[in-house]
């Protein structure tokens, strides 16, 4: 787990030159305006660049209908954790200042093409989208809101896995969030999981993989253990497309791969089947 910290941070695909964006995958130069208009998806190769939770919200929820839940929940530091360089508390303050977020997930409710839904959107910028106790609490509280109001629950995941700095308490968030999903299942409240790049470890091994319907963006990396850990364990090279959405679809763990610009209408169509009276 916590595979994310092992990999070097990808360089931002946005070139310093404000006119151009450079695709991380095919290195194509694309007019920034076109890049943004195409929702940060490369028009040449279809690579989906990561987007922020606010951008995702805008793409998914009808304008002016969103109300945030539990925005005041922030990092708690159950272990009073420090590593060689700094304390978790200091790092958390830094991250908060840089991203303007209190935790790695934004939760709330609104309408999606007129349908009332509850939504949770993870943001990779915040500690690699890792599953801290605040993250887990918000995801559970949002599922509880969905349960009480009998409204579909949609979760967008983007995470390296458990948050090491919260140790065992981070691990417990897996059981906690899944307990919330279990209640939705029992009550017949729809739960749709959207896996985006990347979804790993403690998040893929909990709520992200147990949607009534699992959908993924093209080319997203999704798995339990990180590629490097696996290669070290089995001492073999892994196939190029290992742990991509397409690979998962082939092996039966994803219902559909949906391009970013079609996700909203896909969710809308699917929800029509789940809202029987």
């Amino acid at each position: 787990m916590a595979w994310f910290s092992k990999t070097k941070q990808r360089k931002s695909s946005i070139d310093k030159d404000e006119l151009w964006a450079v695709c991380d995958s095919c290195k194509a130069h694309v007019y920034r305006e076109e890049w943004e208009k195409n929702l940060k998806v490369c028009p040449k190769c279809g690579y989906h660049e990561r987007i922020t939770c606010q951008q995702r919200l805008q793409l998914t929820i009808d304008e002016g209908t969103f109300e945030e839940l539990d925005s005041d929940i922030e990092i708690s530091d159950p272990l009073k954790f420090s590593d060689a360089k700094s304390s978790y508390a200091d790092k958390a303050a830094d991250t908060k200042a840089k991203t303007g977020l209190n935790e790695a997930v934004l939760t709330g409710f609104g309408t999606l093409n007129g349908i009332s839904v509850v939504i949770a959107i993870m943001d990779f910028r915040f500690f690699g989208g890792s599953l801290g106790s605040g993250t887990g609490d918000k995801i559970l509280l949002a599922s509880d809101y969905a349960l009480r109001h009998k409204q579909p629950y949609i979760v967008f995941s983007a995470s390296g896995g458990a948050r090491m700095q919260e140790g065992i308490i981070s691990l417990m968030q897996m059981a906690k969030t899944c307990a919330g999903i279990s209640r939705l299942n029992k009550a017949g409240v729809p739960y749709i999981s959207v896996l985006t790049n990347p979804t790993f470890g403690g998040v893929s091994a909990s709520y992200a993989m147990v949607g009534d319907i699992n959908i993924a963006e093209p080319g997203a990396l999704i798995g339990f253990a990180g590629r490097r850990v696996i290669e070290q364990t089995i001492k073999q090279k892994l196939p190029e497309n290992f742990q991509t959405s397409e690979y998962l679809l082939e092996h039966g763990f994803i219902d559909a791969i949906v391009e970013r610009k079609k996700i909203k209408s896909f969710l809308h169509s699917v929800l029509q089947y789940s809202m029987r009276k």
Partner: protein, 321 residues
């Protein structure tokens, strides 16, 4: 295998054994020396094991002479009927499941097994389960629910297996499914971490009404070596990571992650197999007796409350169900 902090203890133990051998001869008499050395070694064990660092506890938890799942089966139950297979893919030897009778009480006994000999270790994949292991466990937990018998899970695993096929068969999905389903199983679930509680690999069968730990077991989101390599950029800093992660039974009891510590005798379970197994058995039976009288709906609600309170930000309420 001996642990470096046990050098002195092992040396004394060896000397006692030698003297006992010599003592068998008719013309020698070492009884006093043996008694004295025994006293000394007991004292030394008590001192050493009373002050183990978290990193030393990691080594005790991984000690290969600790009782394994097979030893618990034999030491605790009068009958064990192993049940194989996940009905989808295969039979995972890292995860052993079956009906067991413990002091007349019928249970579904599930446990991870690292294996002791080289052949066993390979067959059991060093106690690292594959998706079919978690699916077998879930299948049999649902069966236990249907038959109205309680579930007992003994945990000793370094991790869920990080392999190519494990990914292809859905390691993440298998664990996620277990966490989701275990939250709703309407029969008591008792969990004991007997050795290593390795992250999601352990949690995949550890969503219990009562979670206990042996006093020198560990339970962690990541192995200290891995955490040190990532956060300290130096796996030699594992002792620091072991301390920072809070992975010992005492710390986890304080954090509310576990409900009870089952004490191992001084010197650890690897020196005192039978006593340890009996202590585990006693604790399981005691909790089974209490849980027996809890209504099924209430049991599931209490399990929910137990896990949602871990790392809860403040006292905002969840709906009662």
């Amino acid at each position: 295998m001996s642990l470096d902090f046990e050098d002195q203890i092992v040396e004394l133990e060896n000397r006692i054994e030698e003297l006992i051998k010599l003592n068998a001869a008719p013309d020698v008499q070492f009884d006093t020396e043996i008694a004295e050395l025994k006293k000394k070694v007991q004292q030394l064990i008590k001192e050493t094991y009373g002050n183990l660092s978290p990193w030393q506890v990691v080594h005790v938890a991984r000690h290969q002479d600790r009782p394994h799942f097979e030893d618990y089966i034999e030491g605790m139950s009068s009958e064990f009927i192993e049940l194989h297979g996940d009905r989808c893919y295969g039979d995972d030897r890292a995860m052993i499941c079956g009906f067991a009778t413990i002091d007349g009480q019928k249970v579904m006994l599930i446990g991870m097994s690292k294996g002791r000999t080289t052949n066993e270790k390979i067959a059991n994949n060093f106690g690292m389960a594959n998706p079919e292991g978690y699916r077998k466990a879930l299948r049999l937990m649902r069966l236990a629910e249907r038959y109205n018998i309680p579930i007992v899970c003994l945990i000793d695993t370094p991790a869920a297996y990080p392999g190519k096929e494990a990914e292809e068969r859905g390691q993440a999905e298998a664990i996620a499914r277990n966490l989701t389903e275990m939250a709703s199983i309407e029969t008591p679930i008792i969990v004991v971490i007997t050795g290593e509680g390795g992250s999601g690999g352990a949690l995949g069968i550890a969503v219990g009404d009562i979670v206990m730990m042996l006093s020198f077991a560990i339970y962690s989101v990541i192995p200290p070596e891995g955490c040190a390599a990532i956060l300290w950029r130096d796996s030699e800093k594992a002792p620091d990571a072991a301390k920072a992660l809070k992975i010992t039974a005492k710390e986890l009891l304080e954090l509310g992650v576990i409900d009870e510590i089952i004490n191992e005798p001084p010197g650890g379970a690897h020196r005192n197999k039978e006593t340890t197994i009996l202590a585990v058995k006693e604790a399981i039976l005691r909790h089974l007796k209490t849980l027996e009288h809890v209504g099924r709906k209430k049991l599931v609600n209490k399990r929910f409350e137990k896990f949602v309170k871990l790392g809860k930000f403040d006292d905002r309420k969840y709906s009662s169900h």
